[in-house]
Symmetry: C2
């Protein structure tokens, strides 16, 4: 059987350029510390270097790779640098890269079990493995009433959970009638702490519930949601004829890594039959170490849960692991079956069709990358790195606490340290700008008690003690030169 | 600078296994015709072959790749087979695989311009290139009031468009107040043809508008939306005090490739100030050939448009190109700016932050794969393949028309031929089951006029005349053995 390669890349070319790009990646990752972490280009610089029109004739990969080096790389902010301390980590480990490469090469689309049974079954299986590694309650296993699914991000997981909650709360009628047209259901209300991620508010908007019906519950001195304040707000809303529908608890807020008390919140949700979603996007990974599993205390009271292996478990973006306790509720909220998707396996009811567990229809074979990560590192290897990052962060925290010029701005239970110079917002802004412009490291900020606060987020897979020490030195130097 | 590789994959191992997987993919794609196209495993077969618990210690990549061959591949339905005629194509070309590999290797997260300027600027630029290649109206270029953004799928693009429409129609108040709580706005109504993709109904549900407020407009004998029926329904809804908000026109329906008349629909939308979204997920690719650009007639009347390079333009899933006419309306509908995402570039207003153009926050560097595809093939190479696929489909259509036993079930304007045996539903079901169980090819069905109809979708990148001829022979043989 001859294959016609007219205009296509031949197998020989693919091998050649594939090997070349693998080597390019290996080289890049060995020299990644040499780049300024935060890209130093100005708006428009990259576009100005690109030809205004697409090529009529094909070009060589050699030309493309030259442009990657010369045009693209100066515009890259190096998330894979060990000196990346901004936001949260987004690790792309070598086994995950290879898993994703396999996924692209096999090139299936896993919307239905039938469109590639292995994609669905490996996903179910690996998410059960992950649940076991994290010590999640049994309700989230596929072998019980629940199960896991890969979403692109925690934002999508939150929206998905909220849609299921909206439906369940309205007796599965809001999908038909539209939100707030369900006559005997009062306006729906959603709850999260004042520290919750913007994705909660975005989800409330997208789901048609509205920001106005999102209650931002006050927090205690650790920036964790106050259960008494939540309970009181629920009572007020009930008294006003509204319908509490959804609570999102954060296990590690994005701003400061604040830990909402899941058990106390869960008991309130249980008493009022409110859907509890637990967002552990970054910190959930810590639970692979038994000594950090306290963050999940009370999780058996939750209806849904998510954490992101693409953050702190080395699994190339995008990979959010989203679990539900009652897969029936999720599927009922999201399923529509047109004729052109009907097939024997679906109608038999014996299989999972993950299209009904998510917003889009199509899906990549993303389970491969987590499978390769778990098999390459083993549970032990992943635990080793999570523990190392927590030790490094706790060292950094101790240096801040021992310092005369800097102070902690929030508890640092795991691998995020929020701190600030005592000189005020302008000084902190200047320190951050100096550091980020230097290219030596990259960190970002938040506000705590309305004060500008620096965030030292430690979780890049190659970050070692020497990087954190150098960062602390650079921070002190920047403070010195600023004052 | 030494890098500590404890538990990590060393650069040497990464090169070795990277080369190995590249070669594995090259081999796979050369022998892909040898596999049964539709996986023949039974529910549970794959999971039963996987160990129940994750490994404590890391394993070798050799063991993993052995399992890919022995456990995973039997469970794969081969979307990259030239004998894949099911659904729509989902092509993963070699340049796209390499672009995606680069993306994983660079490992950035492009939620903001600042988090990697090159990711944002290459995306804007390549989507302008694509708009030019497709001959889209100028309003969709980033250099005007609009612009393009990569979404994972057309489903997400539809939801995104609907959210923007919902907000614009309510004077930017539904995000705050919740859908249908905006006092002086009647209930919102959404319109699509009876043939529209299930994602329209799913989007109406997710956005809180409700299926009940989706009007499925009747179609003409070509299965295209009837503009007169649309206009009449809008008038009835207005008379009932409702608020028409959104029309989705299909340029190539999923079921039968029916082409809604965009110009006539667009004129109605313009007159009533209704958001018009045009979904050209599969067929949009045809417009890279000037002779097929008629499918976009009237597109200047649309507010948003999407098509999927991951279907017929060889760009590994996931890659939907979504364009809007007024980026301000989109951003206003989707933006929330928490403190921890504030940065100088964003506040300057001089850059695009694509997080405000989509549902999730995080995003991969997906522009690389389309960039590599366009540069490898050139416009000319892509045109060549699209033309070839249309020729093959039109040949197939002629064979059906010339046959005594089979008939066309719908017009076949491009590369999808809907046809059926004249013997009725049971015969057609038996033919399909026989073919798919044979492993020789894979095709799926729909219903037209309530009759079971087979879909011959031609667009896999390696499909040649001999595959289509063999398929037609197999179809006739299956009919023969069935009767």
């Amino acid at each position: 059987m001859t294959i016609d390669h007219t205009y296509h890349m031949t197998p020989e070319e693919f091998r050649r350029w594939g090997h070349e790009i693998i080597d390019w990646i290996a080289d890049y990752r060995q020299r990644v510390e040499e780049y300024p972490v935060l890209s130093q280009v100005k708006p428009g610089d990259i576009r100005a270097a690109l030809p205004p029109h697409p090529p009529q004739q094909g070009e060589s990969m050699a030309a493309v790779l030259r442009d990657v080096d010369e045009i693209i790389m100066p515009g890259v902010t190096h998330w894979q640098s060990p000196n990346f301390f901004a936001y949260f980590p987004s690790n792309s480990s070598e086994p995950a890269i290879l898993g994703d490469l396999l996924s692209s090469g096999i090139g299936i689309q896993g919307m239905l079990w039938a469109t590639s049974p292995a994609a669905t079954e490996l996903e179910t299986h690996v998410l059960d493995w992950l649940a076991e590694m994290l010590g999640l309650p049994g309700q989230f296993m596929s072998t019980s009433t629940g199960g896991g699914v890969v979403q692109d991000s925690a934002s999508s997981a939150t929206l998905t959970a909220l849609l299921a909650a909206r439906e369940r709360t309205t007796g599965y009628r809001s999908n038909e009638a539209g939100v707030n047209n369900v006559d005997d259901v009062g306006r729906l209300v959603v709850y999260a702490s004042t520290q919750a991620h913007s994705s909660i508010e975005k989800a409330a908007r997208m789901a048609g519930i509205g920001s106005q019906n999102l209650r931002k519950i006050e927090v205690d001195e650790t920036l964790a949601m106050r259960p008494d304040a939540l309970a009181a707000q629920i009572e007020r809303d009930l008294a006003d004829g509204l319908t509490p529908a959804f609570v999102c608890a954060n296990v590690g807020s994005t701003s400061t890594n604040a830990m909402d008390p899941v058990r106390a919140i869960g008991e309130i949700c249980r008493d009022h039959d409110i859907w509890l979603h637990v967002d552990a996007a970054m910190s959930g990974s810590a639970a692979i170490c038994p000594e950090f599993r306290f963050i999940h205390d009370g999780l058996e009271l939750a209806d849904s849960y998510c954490m992101n292996p693409h953050k702190w478990l080395f699994t190339t973006f995008d990979f959010d692991a989203f679990y539900v306790k009652d897969r029936g509720a999720l599927i009922r909220a999201l399923s529509i079956l047109p004729e052109y998707l009907r097939n024997q396996a679906t109608e038999s009811g014996a299989v999972i069709d993950y299209r009904d567990w998510q917003i889009p229809l199509g899906r990549r074979f993303r389970a491969l990358k987590l499978w390769l990560v778990i098999r390459h590192y083993g549970v032990e290897g992943l635990q080793h790195h999570v523990r190392e990052h927590v030790v490094l962060a706790q060292n950094f925290r101790a240096w801040v606490e021992a310092s005369n010029d800097f102070e902690l701005a929030a508890p640092a239970p795991l691998n995020l340290v929020c701190f600030r110079h005592t000189g005020g917002d302008d000084v902190n802004q200047a320190i951050m700008d100096t550091l980020n412009a230097s290219g030596r490291l990259y960190l970002t900020h938040t506000k705590v008690d309305d004060k500008l606060t620096l965030r030292m987020s430690i979780g890049q897979m190659y970050t070692q003690r020497r990087h954190v020490e150098a960062a602390w030195q650079a921070i002190q130097d920047a403070a010195g030169s600023t004052l």
